[in-house]
Symmetry: D2
Subunit: 368 residues, 4 copies
Amino acid sequence: MSFNTFGRLFRVTTWGESHGPALGATVDGCPPGIALEVATIQHWLDRRRPGQNRFTTQRREPDEVEILSGVYEGRTTGTPIQLMIRNMDQRSKDYSAIAERFRPGHADITYWQKYGIRDPRGGGRSSARETAARVAAGGVARAVLAALVPALNVSGYMVQMGARAIDRARSDPAAIESNPFWCPDAVTAALWAEDLDRLRKDGNSVGAVIEVVARGVPAGIGAPIYAKLDSELAAAMMTINAVKGVEIGDGFSAAALTGVENADEITMGPDGPEYGSNHAGGVLGGISTGQDVVVRFAVKPTSSILTPRRSITREGEPVDVVTKGRHDPCVGIRAVPVGEAMMACVLLDQILLHRAQMGEGLRGSIGP
Amino acid sequence: MSFNTFGRLFRVTTWGESHGPALGATVDGCPPGIALEVATIQHWLDRRRPGQNRFTTQRREPDEVEILSGVYEGRTTGTPIQLMIRNMDQRSKDYSAIAERFRPGHADITYWQKYGIRDPRGGGRSSARETAARVAAGGVARAVLAALVPALNVSGYMVQMGARAIDRARSDPAAIESNPFWCPDAVTAALWAEDLDRLRKDGNSVGAVIEVVARGVPAGIGAPIYAKLDSELAAAMMTINAVKGVEIGDGFSAAALTGVENADEITMGPDGPEYGSNHAGGVLGGISTGQDVVVRFAVKPTSSILTPRRSITREGEPVDVVTKGRHDPCVGIRAVPVGEAMMACVLLDQILLHRAQMGEGLRGSIGP
Amino acid sequence: MSFNTFGRLFRVTTWGESHGPALGATVDGCPPGIALEVATIQHWLDRRRPGQNRFTTQRREPDEVEILSGVYEGRTTGTPIQLMIRNMDQRSKDYSAIAERFRPGHADITYWQKYGIRDPRGGGRSSARETAARVAAGGVARAVLAALVPALNVSGYMVQMGARAIDRARSDPAAIESNPFWCPDAVTAALWAEDLDRLRKDGNSVGAVIEVVARGVPAGIGAPIYAKLDSELAAAMMTINAVKGVEIGDGFSAAALTGVENADEITMGPDGPEYGSNHAGGVLGGISTGQDVVVRFAVKPTSSILTPRRSITREGEPVDVVTKGRHDPCVGIRAVPVGEAMMACVLLDQILLHRAQMGEGLRGSIGP
Amino acid sequence: MSFNTFGRLFRVTTWGESHGPALGATVDGCPPGIALEVATIQHWLDRRRPGQNRFTTQRREPDEVEILSGVYEGRTTGTPIQLMIRNMDQRSKDYSAIAERFRPGHADITYWQKYGIRDPRGGGRSSARETAARVAAGGVARAVLAALVPALNVSGYMVQMGARAIDRARSDPAAIESNPFWCPDAVTAALWAEDLDRLRKDGNSVGAVIEVVARGVPAGIGAPIYAKLDSELAAAMMTINAVKGVEIGDGFSAAALTGVENADEITMGPDGPEYGSNHAGGVLGGISTGQDVVVRFAVKPTSSILTPRRSITREGEPVDVVTKGRHDPCVGIRAVPVGEAMMACVLLDQILLHRAQMGEGLRGSIGP
């Protein structure tokens, strides 16, 4: 079934195809009275916008968002917010050659088999362009979080491209915005630039790992069992195009740890419990501890590449597929702002759910 | 908010605490006319049952399921199926010592902070005992799948315990049922036995990685964007106790691949498309390809250990926590049947969703 | 699809058949820390219990509820509450005669056509017995409301049986509990007793209209458009067996009014706005005004009657159906506590939803 | 909470305010391959369009719909369909006088109290203008129904305006489209015209009752308990602005019937069961019988009237409210196409749900 909505109370429904007239997000459940302007959202869209450097697709999209509803005199009214982004740079001719064939590793074939129809222009609905709508919705979520939990801060960055990971010892948050890879390690960023130039020349592409951290998340957010904060985050990140793995805190590395090593020891600090480490990634039993919430996700290499790959046509005939057009050689780069947007949406949704069941604040205090 | 339901059409709501009178699952949305007996479900529960060997908790629970509704004369009626498992071996005294303190790495502290009340007996709702209800529900899902998609088969096994992974070259499905670790590599299983004996003696525990494979999943199952099959699977697996990471197909390894390497090349076979490899883990664009659907998840080490760890009491006083009682030294072992159950539930749910939107079968054919 | 859950945050899933081993309700999303005992819930079940006078079914069911989960030391924990009621007085032989035929006006035929299988014992899932589970869940909702909004009070009563309606001028709340019809007009109650004795002797049955009023509902509960408080109430009441109509405030009578007559004029009172009348039934634009929330619903006559009616068998053969057994001659009577339960559940759900989006209290104040 | 979505699988989210730049509907879950053009949807919007005669608001809105996504080369793709209608005739000055005061009987006051902010221009989100988006979505639902169940037909009409009801003996479907009231009784339509002219001159308004009938609905659609077809229809109709009552089949009249009278007797016809009457309105136990599905709903009189009514300002000061502007004297008239749209959406949603659980067609056959 075509579920295009995520969230339980803060609900985002995205719509639109890569080369249709527009795409957007319908945001329902937003608290009222929140200051919200086009510029607030545009700020986040500009970070994701394609064509800003040689390492992302050269499609030129201004990605200007319009707010069609739900905001009055600069404040949200509590009614649905419609965010629309017009598609400007549509070159459908680039894609006509592949309408009848299936790119290996791409959704072309599964869409066709499932639906018996697909919009082949730019990948239609399966295009990473859908993530622009998420970033816009994430902009709304951030505005609400800024009002409800001012200390909360979401930051994403790339920690691995291809086989090359950052050196955490060199990691510096200040570096993130100063290179085209959202890389906190400037030395590695420079090496990635070389790697990616070579891959592009070869008509190839590469995968990546993104880390998104939320600081200032209050303790108590999330829920046991099927609304676990980690499960909601995993679902959210895994809906991003090309994502194939998600982990929280130590994630897969935790499998290699013993219980003694993995225990984040607790002490009492002046403002509540403090933790000696954060193997858990800020989530225990599905509920936030108050530590940093740490999520990582793996993005596979772009499937649309210039190197020929064997495939078939709709008639079942063998064909070598070569994908020309304007594709990101490492789609992971532009996934950074998208991962941030998903983190913001999930946290806000869970904060509203907490408030519904528990009222304001925590129920259980620790201390004398 | 306390969401204890998963699934969109095949909806499972679990309920119950570790040391309450009973726990169970309310299964809604099951197709009617499916042959279903207690024995069918009991079969799967027996695989998860504790106390069957020295590597799992020594709590003695027969885990006998009762079907309280939704089945008439051995067939499902389409109405809700209530599955109840009584708790028999409750030794609440084991846990009284820790009612006032928080185990590091455990949900104790977050439940308390969020709710201001928790059932401390055996971990209450946060106990892995909740997963018995999932396995029961999974038994229903398997019975329905057997009727709707007879070729579909779900199989889980452990591929890593602590730092030691299996050798895929030695992997043999026949081995899975012949060791206490659901390990397809008998050599590694023997080493794990040694490892785990040592860890138990040390009052320690260890993490693991589980792989669950579904064979015979038809192409076309899943959906784009927020109901992606991989996202649904990630959410489902991440809701299992102690799971900290999920990946599909090559998962995190895909980040290190190039697009050329990662492309699963397509050829035309006698029954439809065939693929030269399965980096994608059977899912493209959120929709199944017809290949094996491959999911892996990481389980952190059990947090309830005999080795003392620093923590605090409810009054904020420092305390060394030592957890006696009957805990699994590697909770990953018993997560294997749970992962299978979640896979079965997700696939059935998505198959019903596909049928709702598309009717029976696929819409788009490939071939002359 | 078999959706057996209602509510968005306070979610009730009922399960069970009339003559199975048990039935019950899984209540999810309950706030924690609420005092809840079996006796609290049993109180409401006792009001609905059959066989308490000659005007309801003579089936003898103690309807004793068990709390299987979600409550610890007399308080809710925020986890799912499983409420189970065992079926004790099952006389399946009473129903064997009708397993192969369809009662006119009954769900027999539609269940059969839809599912191809049905539990014919006592109507199976379509039995009014399912409403016991709702009353139990309503007991939980009332306990929560008592804690969150102590002034809120829900009261149901019968205002019409057959063609005979109460005289509102004689209406006295004190009378409601003193006759078997929950009738606020003692004179009419006496006439109903005569009417119903005659109908029973004739092997006939009759319909009724129930009114449920909630006093003390805060202003601001509900939402515009598709979560309108009136829509939620209409859906809830219409799910009760045999209900064929629902109205809010003046309801269908409002169609005959002019805008001048229908305007509930507003003045400013010491504690906020006051209204000169309540045509609206306490809801404007889907949101509560703070006045009494007034809902009425129509219950059709019981379809299981002793008078022969023409029908067909499963083989399509004509047959005269005469339904023996223990049926309510006016199922509307026992619908009163059920209507109250649904009102309580809907209001609590909406109060939680309000709290999620708005935080505690109202956002807009009126006054100098 | 601001839930602006209805439907379970065929999901419609409406957005937009009366005087914002645009409003619309996001339609998710639509089956693929359905022929759909702007003209198909525009046809239904034209029926609801204001200003077509002197009995509806004189606001001039072309109500031209744009399809922004989900359709490719004239067929639905299975992805979300965004339907946008721009607001053209916005005269915000008309409403400035009432921004600070509350119309009696209007959502002005409850929106303000709940949200602390509202868009006062033309009623903002509470305007009946929102229903244009429903009619557009209903146009999509009708297109799908035409493909899936060609015999299914939905027809709405007005059966009462003020105190004057139609004479069913004179009722003629052919008359419905030939008068401005969608009235099947031409004689009554003429009287309504006189009634309404008089009311308008008096600065007054009036209520109405609408009936919507669906013919050709297959047996088996709907579900027991909380997804009852009648409950879904009641919820849907009650979400339409100003609706205060809903009934199915005989509705409130059924309360006055005996079981003997109310039994729709069954005989075997050449194509399946036939019924001697339709007191049930085509629904038994929440599931369709195959007879006409008959719903009626009551619309209260427009609250925006020229006759002064007592009210208060935001500061709590007394004020006489007189609402100028372009209001429908009987908002029930334009509710007819809206009721049809809701019927179409509910039926399609339930048909998809049936297909999910049951596969194609019915499970239980009747006959030799």
